[in-house]
């Protein structure tokens, strides 16, 4: 599917879609969206790019194996869940900063947790798709 139109479009689509996925991730707590959908959208962005330019190209953009996102995401989710233990609250109690940050909005442990989910989903999806398309 290496048509010139698709190829050109994909170079612009990739950053746009990734940005969009982050947008979806951040708004998740108040409006439709969240880490899971965000992660899927980001994966689709990379998959489209790899369709147009070949997997090697996409890999060279990501720079590292997407599988590494899985432990990182899991660790973020775990730490955000365990953080309340430090101040004597039970596991996974929601903690929030008093004031909203500009652009991002309210920041709390749930956002970090969602970020973890986001990374894990990207890692899992890309690992599976890349592995299958490389081996078959």
């Amino acid at each position: 599917m290496k048509t010139i139109i698709f190829k050109t479009a994909s170079t612009y689509l990739l950053p746009l879609l990734v940005l969009f996925s982050i947008f979806i991730l951040l708004r998740g707590h108040y409006l439709p969206g969240g880490g899971f959908v965000g992660g899927l959208i980001a994966s689709i962005a990379f998959v489209i790019h790899s369709f147009a330019n070949g997997i090697d190209q996409t890999k060279s953009i990501i720079k590292f194996h997407p599988g590494f996102l899985m432990p990182i995401g899991l660790a973020i989710a775990l730490v955000s869940g365990a953080a309340p233990l430090l101040i004597g609250e039970s596991f996974m109690t929601g903690l929030w900063f008093e004031e909203p940050l500009s652009v991002i909005g309210m920041v709390g442990s749930a956002l970090f947790f969602d970020t973890g989910v986001y990374l894990v989903v990207i890692g899992v999806t890309l690992t599976i798709i890349f592995t299958i398309s490389e081996t078959i």
């Binding site: 979806i24 998740g28 707590h29 108040y30 409006l31 439709p32 969206g33 969240g34 880490g35 899971f36 959908v37 899927l40 959208i41 994966s43 689709i44 998959v47 369709f51 599988g67 899985m70 432990p71 995401g73 899991l74 989710a77 775990l78 869940g81 596991f91 996974m92 929601g94 929030w96 309210m106 709390g108 749930a110 947790f113 969602d114 973890g116 989910v117 894990v120 989903v121 890692g123 899992v124 999806t125 690992t127 599976i128 798709i129 592995t131 299958i132 398309s133 081996t135 078959i136």
Partner: protein, 768 residues
């Protein structure tokens, strides 16, 4: 006491670390473990012989009533002394027997583990811990029988022993649980006071049945006896220790322990008498036709165990006393004979009694030990065996109706046992020394001293029974009968019928030995009956079972994904069909439904067309694409019914699924028809049925009253408790955050699975 019991486990777990030391000079240190324990238990004798039991209690799982409670009374004391005492000698013996063996460290590890388990078994007052230690003895026995693990026979015997004793273990678990729930406690001591209630309880028959199976498998009673001769594949120290002196007596211990609690009923007594009598005569007659010294001893051990079950079954005070004494008598002479067999095997390389003779000329101390043991076994005065045999006859003689039959069985058994003892303990050492054995020499003293000590004790206890009368036998008797009767054991009872029977046994045994010469010919005659023996029946059953399992697995787990799907859907269809057949509660209130909109109609039509495309398309890509269309149509439906989150997720998932399908399918060969028309029709019919059933089920849900409690809770508390306005997301990351956590972990595992399966397969293909 807990340290005493655990020390064996501690040593066993240290073995891998200290492996170098044990294989070198350090192994001589190990026998001091059982020796120390022996001394430790001896130190309790003054207390126990005064009728005071030593209790130690450690709480373990109090919520289930499982505690590490130990109780050292007369019966436990006898077993603890046997375990540690014979253990000491066996440990010393092993030092020379397996000197330089590459796995000596392992052997000592298993042996220590076994000793600790056995001690735990006889000291436990809690029946659950008793069960745990019981299983540990089976497991350590498995390792010891299979010690020569490069020999397939040895592995097979180990597995056979484990499956039989393990089977018994399961029965024991069921038995103790039933006993515990019926009696309301897991403590043997407390169960003792429940004795009458237990005997009249509805579960009584089940309890004793389960305990009996456990005891019979462990103590090799007919028809479970056949694992024991196989277990003789183990090195001789193991045969001595586990399969004659201690472990096989665990079943006897169990029966003896529960005699005061459950015994005394006709069911209890008659079952034990019958099984014990059959076992003792059957095995004793079997012992006549063996050539292998170990085989002879194995069958005579089974027979002796039968005698013990028989005596416990008789259940009179006389019989229980005889049982208590016979446990000790048997342990002393049988362990000696096994150790002697080990020496003969070790030095000459054969255990065939038709070949061995005249060995006294080259190994005098061994021969003395063997003679002493054979005489004690024969029940010749003034040996301890004589006292044991006297007590047995006394027990059987005064039984009333059945006295003649039972005494007769006892005489037959004793005559055969006497013959077996002479065959193993006398014949190899007398007569002319064949030339091939002239170079045979006496082994290291650590090998010949243990049997000599044991045999010496057999003579000593016979001459001076007062040595153990008050200190050991009386407490055993007290804990067996649970009353204050005082006993006397003595060598000389005067001229009476019992003495007459003893002399008759001796004469008959000597005549039998004179007449019956063991030979290949005789043995092969008995082998003909092997076909109908329990052992071969079990093996036939096993191969049948394996065949069935193979067929069953092959039938269901055939590796074809389509067959799995058919099985699952077919089963579900049957289940749902049956459920709906029983009555459908289908009531649709059309008035309460909203009107159809034009969008919905269009989407449904799109879906229907795509389904037809998917099923009938000739090209895989078209099929996949139309499958994707169905997914997107579902997205739209989600959107219509205001579930934007679901729609978004469904949309992305569908996109990715289609991409994955394309990736895989793109590389497959061009469209081919793999399935016949018949198969397709079958699949179609099944799908239609399944779809219809699911549709009916969904419609049925509509007629159920709606419970909105959960959704209202989430809608109301999402912002208050979790500061979020998107309820779906709040549930995912906050209310049910832990679920999400586990789900992403599962995702990661799946990804790793895909990665490793495909990449590793690739690597192995590359290698080729």
């Amino acid at each position: 006491m807990i340290i005493a019991i655990l020390s064996g486990f501690i040593v066993a777990s240290m073995v891998p670390i200290l492996s170098k030391l044990i294989k070198g000079k350090g192994s001589i240190l190990l026998p001091f473990l059982p020796l120390g324990l022996f001394a430790y238990f001896i130190s309790f004798i003054p207390k126990v012989s005064n009728g005071i039991a030593v209790d130690r209690f450690y709480s373990w799982v109090p919520s289930f009533g499982i505690d590490l409670s130990f109780r050292l009374d007369g019966l436990s004391m006898l077993f603890a002394l046997l375990i540690t005492g014979i253990g000491t000698l066996v440990f010393f013996y092993t030092f020379s027997y397996l000197k330089g063996h590459p796995y000596l460290d392992r052997f000592y590890g298993y042996l220590s583990m076994f000793m600790a388990s056995m001690l735990g078994l006889v000291l436990s007052d809690n029946i659950i811990t008793l069960f745990i230690f019981w299983e540990l003895t089976s497991i350590s026995s498995f390792f010891l029988i299979g010690f020569n693990n490069d020999d397939p026979n040895s592995r097979k015997s180990a597995l056979l022993a484990l499956s039989i004793t393990g089977l018994g273990g399961l029965f024991l678990l069921a038995g103790v649980l039933l006993l515990g729930t019926s009696g309301g406690t897991y403590s043997i001591q407390d169960l003792l006071s429940q004795s009458e209630a237990l005997k009249s309880s509805a579960n009584y028959n089940w309890i004793i049945f389960l305990l009996f199976i456990a005891a019979f498998t462990k103590s090799a009673q007919f028809p479970f006896h056949f694992w024991l001769p196989g277990a003789m594949k183990a090195p001789t120290p193991v045969s001595t220790y586990l399969h004659s002196a201690t472990m096989v007596k665990a079943g006897i211990y169990l029966l003896a322990r529960f005699t005061p609690v459950l015994g005394g009923t006709p069911e209890w007594n008659n079952t034990l008498i019958i099984v014990g009598a059959v076992t003792m005569t059957y095995a004793a007659i079997h012992a006549l036709f063996r050539l292998d010294m170990k085989g002879i001893l194995a069958y005579s051990t089974i027979s002796a165990l039968g005698i013990l079950v028989f005596l416990i079954g008789l259940g009179t005070e006389q019989a229980l006393l005889a049982a208590g004494v016979f446990i000790l008598v048997h342990a002393l002479y049988k362990a000696t004979l096994f150790l002697v067999t080990g020496i003969v095997d070790h030095e000459t390389g054969t255990r065939d009694v038709s070949v061995l003779s005249g060995l006294r000329k080259v190994m005098m101390p061994v021969a003395i030990a063997a003679f002493l043991a054979a005489l004690s076994n024969a029940g010749a005065p003034p040996f301890f065996g004589f006292i044991g045999k006297d007590l047995i006859y006394e027990a059987t003689l005064y039984l009333g109706d059945w006295a003649y039959v039972l005494t007769g069985a006892a005489i037959v058994t004793n005559v055969c046992l006497l013959f077996a003892g002479l065959l193993a303990g006398y014949k190899p050492f007398v007569g002319a020394l064949p030339t091939q054995f002239e170079k045979v020499h006496l082994p290291h003293p650590t090998m010949w001293a243990p049997p000599l000590i044991l045999a010496g004790l057999g003579l000593l206890f016979g001459l001076i029974p007062s040595l153990i009368e008050k200190s050991i036998i009386q407490p055993v008797f007290t804990s067996l009968v649970n009353n204050e009767t005082v006993i006397h054991i003595k060598l000389w009872h005067g001229f009476n019928i019992v003495l007459g029977l003893s002399l008759l046994t001796l004469t008959l045994g000597a005549m039998l030995y004179w007449k019956l010469k063991p030979s290949e010919n005789l043995m092969s005659k008995t082998l003909r009956f092997e076909v109908i023996s329990p052992k071969s029946l079990v093996e036939k059953f096993r191969s049948l079972f394996i065949g069935l399992a193979q067929f069953w697995t092959g039938f269901f787990q055939n590796g074809y994904l389509r067959n799995y799907v058919i099985t699952i859907l077919g089963f579900l269809t049957l289940l749902l069909g049956y459920r709906l057949y029983q009555g459908v509660n289908l009531y649709i209130d059309f008035a309460s439904l909203t009107d159809l909109t034009i969008y919905e109609v269009i989407v449904v039509i799109i879906m229907a067309v795509s389904i037809i495309f998917t099923v009938f398309s000739k090209s895989r890509l078209v099929a996949v694409a139309s499958l994707g269309v169905i997914g997107y149509a579902i997205c739209l439906i989600f959107l219509f019914y205001s579930a934007p989150d679901l729609a978004m997720t469904q949309f992305s998932i569908d996109t990715l699924t289609v991409i994955l399908f394309v990736l895989v399918i793109y590389n497959l060969p061009k469209y081919k028809t793999f399935s016949s028309i018949g198969v397709r029709i079958r699949d179609g019919v099944l799908s239609i049925f399944f779809g219809t059933l699911i549709a009916i089920l969904t419609l049925e849900v509509l007629s159920e009253p709606l419970n909105r409690e959960t959704s209202i809770f989430y809608a109301e508390s999402a912002y208050l408790l979790a500061k979020g306005k998107n309820v779906v997301n709040v549930i995912l990351v906050d209310f049910r955050g832990f679920d999400t956590m586990v789900e992403i972990t599962v995702l990661v595992i799946a990804a790793i699975g895909v990665f490793s399966l495909l990449k590793l397969r690739l690597k192995s293909i590359e290698k080729e």
